[in-house]
């Protein structure tokens, strides 16, 4: 015992930092006290298969897939001191029965086995039970390819079923809401969707009915799953029981390419994954970012995306001649635009940028305004009602970015002056980028008619494009690289999942070329790539210093303090602090 007097035991060393020692598959690691066993295994890079456990939801422990073998040091006889081995740990006495890893926490000197005969037999057994009434209709199931049941039956299943009886029949293809279909036969009763609707969406409309093998998930009588966060249950579903109407039978998941990007429908800037095949977007799913959107996103944003194959996309430059738009090439359109702009005094020109543009594009808009000597530069404000979840009260994705780049506290303040100028006739020409002026900007059709020159960059054929004298086809949010700053001051990046259709180009290229054709400068001096432009941008805005596109981390970086918070993330942090969820 003299040794332990001079040398501290591992348990004391760990306890100093609030950690405990756990042996996982023979290796000792230190994990924070109170960690769930499943999370400790994850830290040790040992995957424990699971269905019902989700770190953002409570842990009911009902799927039994995460069974592992647990061991503790034997309790010393009365009066005896615990004995420590050479490495300073007590010997582990392994328990003959398995425990679930998702709802148990680790303790000092605990042992966990995620492999071995007992654990493998348990998993085989659980998989066999789960597959007893599973219809095995993988060929028509949308989840195939990303189905946990498929994955785990390959990894841990028996390979064949011993069940000879008829499978239980349950309702299939049930419309439980405007956007979601339910297939009860595929359901494995993990209750993730039920818990999500109850705990996160705060609209409990799902529940279990019946008993035993007849248990099925269903919607409460007279209710429907029309919550704006309902489609998150589809992402949560580890099998194909809940599928989205929008993505239903559109494409098998293994054909889709994933691109990490951010949502541009509101100021929250939810992190998303864009799923594409060829040049078509098939679906958008939320990507985990605990500081922005956790694992969720609203349906209204998820389903609202601009795809290169949309019918209303503009694919060529248009010049209006005698009231009719005619297609033309980039050279002609740019020359026509710069010639037309030169007819006006700089005070007669206004530039309307968009709060949905990236930092790089806004920076180019500022450069263009400087080139024209024009002081009427504004974005269009989009105030809306926050849903107290993830939809922010700012409808623009990049108002914070516009604030930094236009170096003004309210980048939309000039808009009323511009509108008044148009009505009084002092402003005769407008360059509008990525905005439908008749939409949030409050211009009427007559206002646009009154303008002598309207140049617009649009990706869709909208009223502004219709009224424009010169239209440049722009790119949608899924087609461009760039960065945006969300309402909490987090700098995040957009990645291009598709290429713009036809002749369409990214806004920054269009504005650069327009600025070049006005100034007649040497083209080589202008940024040649989005990366070069991003470096110019970060060099001139102090908050963004060093944060060029390649340097922004995957989950974004806080660059400015705004004092805004995201309600859902805040609530989740509280639940984590209360120990309700793992987080």
């Amino acid at each position: 015992m003299s040794d332990s007097d001079t040398k501290q035991l591992p348990k004391d060393l760990a306890a100093e930092n609030g950690m405990v020692n756990v042996q996982i598959d023979g290796h000792w690691i230190q994990v924070p006290k109170g960690t769930r066993m499943i999370e400790a295994c994850k830290m040790a890079e040992q995957e424990v298969p699971h269905y019902c456990y989700h770190p953002k939801l409570s842990s009911p422990g009902n799927c039994r897939m995460c069974l592992v073998q647990m061991g503790m040091p034997p309790r010393p006889a009365p009066g005896a001191e615990p004995s420590y081995g050479e490495n300073g740990y007590q010997e582990i006495g392994w328990m003959p029965r398995p425990v679930i890893a998702c709802a148990n926490t680790v303790t000092e000197n605990m042992g966990i086995r995620t492999t071995g005969e007992l654990v493998e037999k348990c998993r085989e057994g659980v998989m066999e039970f789960l597959l007893i009434n599973h219809p095995l209709d993988c060929p028509i199931c949308d989840q195939a390819g990303e189905c946990r049941l498929q994955e785990f039956s390959v990894e841990h299943g028996k390979g064949e079923s011993r069940f000879k009886e008829d499978k239980i029949k349950k309702p299939k293809n049930v419309k439980i809401g405007p956007r979601i279909r339910l297939d009860d036969e595929r359901c494995i009763m993990c209750s993730r969707c039920i818990r999500f609707m109850d705990e996160v969406a705060d609209e409990p409309v799902l529940g279990f009915a019946e008993r035993g093998t007849h248990t099925s998930v269903g919607i409460f009588p007279g209710k429907e799953l029309d919550n704006n966060y309902g489609l998150n249950t589809v992402d949560l579903c580890p099998v194909g029981a809940l599928t989205s109407n929008d993505f239903r039978f559109q494409m098998r998941t293994w054909f889709l390419k994933e691109t990490n990007s951010i949502d541009t429908n509101c100021g929250t800037g939810s992190n998303i994954t864009v799923w594409t095949r060829g040049n078509k977007i098939f679906r958008i799913t939320p990507r985990q970012n605990d500081d922005v959107n956790s694992c969720w996103m609203p349906d209204s944003h998820r389903l609202n995306y601009i795809c290169p194959t949309d019918e209303d996309r503009l694919t060529a430059c248009l010049i209006k001649a005698d009231g009719v738009h005619e297609e033309t090439c980039w050279e002609n359109a740019l020359e026509a635009a710069s010639d037309a702009l030169k007819q006006f005094e700089s005070s007669e020109i206004a530039i309307i940028a968009s709060g949905k543009q990236t930092n790089e594009e806004l920076f180019m808009m500022r450069t263009l305004a400087a080139e024209l000597g024009c002081e009427n530069l504004s974005i269009v404000a989009r105030e809306q009602k926050s849903d107290d979840m993830l939809i922010s009260s700012d409808g623009n994705a990049n108002t914070t970015g516009a604030r930094l780049i236009f170096t003004t506290a309210s980048p939309a303040s000039q808009l009323t002056n511009i509108l008044e100028g148009v009505r009084s006739g002092t402003i005769k020409a407008i360059i509008a980028a990525s905005e439908d002026l008749q939409d949030a900007a409050g211009f009427s059709a007559d206002d646009l008619e009154a303008l002598e020159l309207l140049i617009s960059i649009n990706c869709r054929a909208n009223a502004t494009a219709q009224a424009s004298d010169i239209v440049f086809p722009g790119a949608g949010p899924a087609e461009k690289r760039g960065s945006m700053i969300n309402i909490t001051g987090r700098l995040q990046k957009l990645n291009a999942a598709c290429i713009p259709p036809g002749d369409a180009r990214c806004d920054w290229e269009i504005i650069r070329d327009l600025a070049l054709s006005i100034s007649e400068e040497v083209a080589q001096e202008a940024p040649q790539s989005i990366d070069a432009l991003s470096k110019n941008l970060t060099a001139s805005i102090s908050e963004l210093e060093g944060k060029h596109l390649a340097a922004i981390s995957e989950l974004g970086d806080i660059v400015t303090e705004t004092g805004n918070t995201i309600p859902l993330v805040k609530r989740e942090a509280e639940r984590k602090a209360n120990g309700e969820i793992v987080g």
């Binding site: 993988c138 060929p139 028509i140 299939k172 039978f249 559109q250 494409m251 098998r252 293994w254 054909f255």
Partner: protein, 188 residues
């Protein structure tokens, strides 16, 4: 490795001369030439010959009856005895196809269809025969026994578009196939 020593065979004088062997060979050739001229070549009947030698006068004469059961010709889609189109557009054939000859657009079966419980069928199914290499992977991978390589091999067309078999044509060539596993029976 053990070394095996091979001794050269000892040749007799006649063998060393080569001349008798040459005569022997010429005799065999001549025998077949006479047979051929008399229209009695060995195996000629079964080969559908034109009469002279065993040359088959394709395409007037064909060997189609002799194609083996496992012959891999044009890939097609089949219906079963219940007149159900077997393909559910799981797109595994599209995935496995080495030359990317298959393009499928999946679609939903309308709720008033007698086979509505199958839920899914191809809206469009194109096999580009200019790309197809007749490897048979699509047939092998199909979980629904819906795609089969038939014995047809003479695919011709006057344009590239002609060489693309659409869904309608695939079912037309494929026809009805009986005795397949019926996954979508009443129990399902």
């Amino acid at each position: 490795m053990a070394t095996i020593k091979v001794t050269r065979p000892k040749l007799t004088l006649l063998e060393k001369l080569y001349f008798p062997s040459i005569m022997n060979g010429m005799f065999i050739t001549f025998k077949h030439a006479v047979r051929s001229l008399r229209g009695k070549s060995i195996g000629g009947d079964s080969m559908n010959t034109s009469g002279l030698g065993i040359t088959m006068q394709y395409p007037e004469q064909k060997w189609d009856d002799h194609l083996p059961e496992y012959y891999r010709g044009v890939p097609t889609l089949v219906t079963d005895e219940q007149d159900r189109e077997r393909c559910v557009s799981c797109q595994l054939c599209e995935f496995i196809c080495p030359p990317k000859a298959i393009a499928i657009m999946p679609g939903e079966i309308e709720s008033d269809d007698p086979w509505a419980k199958v839920e899914k069928r191809p809206k469009e199914f194109d096999i580009d025969m200019t790309r197809c290499i007749y490897c048979g992977m699509c047939e092998e991978v199909c979980p629904e026994q819906a795609i089969f390589l038939r014995k047809d091999y003479a695919m011709t067309g006057l344009s590239r578009a002609d060489m693309v078999n659409d869904k309608e044509r695939l079912y037309e060539i494929g026809g009805v196939r009986t005795g397949l596993v019926n996954k979508w029976n009443d129990i399902k």
